[in-house]
Symmetry: C2
Subunit: 210 residues, 2 copies
Amino acid sequence: MARTKSPNYEAQQQNILENAARLFAEQSFPSASIAQLAELCGMSKPLLYHYYRDKSHLLFDIADTYVDKLVGIVDAAARQGLPADAHLRLLIERFMEEYASSRHYHMVLVQDVKFLGETERKQVKAKQAGVVAAFAELIARLRPELPAAQVKPVTMTLFGMMNWTFTWFRADGAIDRAGMARIVSQLFLHGVYGCGEGTDYEQVSEGVPR
Amino acid sequence: MARTKSPNYEAQQQNILENAARLFAEQSFPSASIAQLAELCGMSKPLLYHYYRDKSHLLFDIADTYVDKLVGIVDAAARQGLPADAHLRLLIERFMEEYASSRHYHMVLVQDVKFLGETERKQVKAKQAGVVAAFAELIARLRPELPAAQVKPVTMTLFGMMNWTFTWFRADGAIDRAGMARIVSQLFLHGVYGCGEGTDYEQVSEGVPR
DNA sequence: CCTACCGATCGGTAGG
DNA sequence: CCTACCGATCGGTAGG
């Protein structure tokens, strides 16, 4: 009888991916060493190569599973049938919530995807473009008066507001991720003149199923 | 007699710095090789080490000269004695204008400063914190009603709007850097509901000396 | 200002 | 003839 895969195979693979994401985020992909990763995972290099055929496949798996998660959030929000502004606020909430647990994955997506081979890089970039397109369509629906040439810049500026949090936001401050989502929504929709006491939205995710 | 420095010494150093910034931005500091840099600069490795004592000193010079430039922009804008909202719009314009020619320097500042030694890293980070503090004070002056805990998050969100342009903005599109500055100012002050045809500010930099 | 090197470490794989 | 795993070392290249 052929032996089956260890019941821990997937768990081991997940553990490696988690450690690799952290290492790549901290040191950048090319300078993170496989020896170091293997040590972090408590295994020998040959055993690590049993789970991942090479270093770049590890990078692809990190980026691809993470971008799939973002696509999933976009799709789930679209199924709620909300009006445009509530839809956008829900998306911002869900992204900021996801970001709380995806720091290293996101940093790898931003700074290391360029080190993938062309085929794999294009696959990740295409999914990423889908996420951006969903936000852009929603913004165009929200503000039909917005000149077409401004939709992309405005959309990317919203991503800047959210994604820049990875460079400075720490959960130990006075504001948590849910609070950050409200600040981003409020700033993006109404600007700083629309921010401050008593101008907050309530969370739109209350009572919305995942 | 001691030999004098070549009259081209500073020019050579500048050329090296420019090429190094590009290489570090593209490949990340640890994986960019000195041999590759020397070849780009058309010189041997030993000659390159004549201008810069080691790899990390090159990284420090890139980050430090660039952050000094940003501090200079902040100081020059403060000397204009403008009201808070015009002051902020001028700062956003000047930053976006500077960003047009500082792509690689900025990317190195964001992604590679962590590879500096502690002393040098702290020096750069302190200057960077000064730039952020100047924006934060201005925003607090613009919106005194803003709860103190929100000033830092709102300020960093503005930096997100500007700094994220390095990941997507290309000058060949329908919108140029001056147009991007107007979009960022408009979004930050009045939100997307305040954007669109006929809601644009004129440039505040018209007639303002540098 | 060059060629020639160093100690160390890289990603990946051999035999068992 | 498979999967799981080790100690040791491969050919090349890094910063200096």
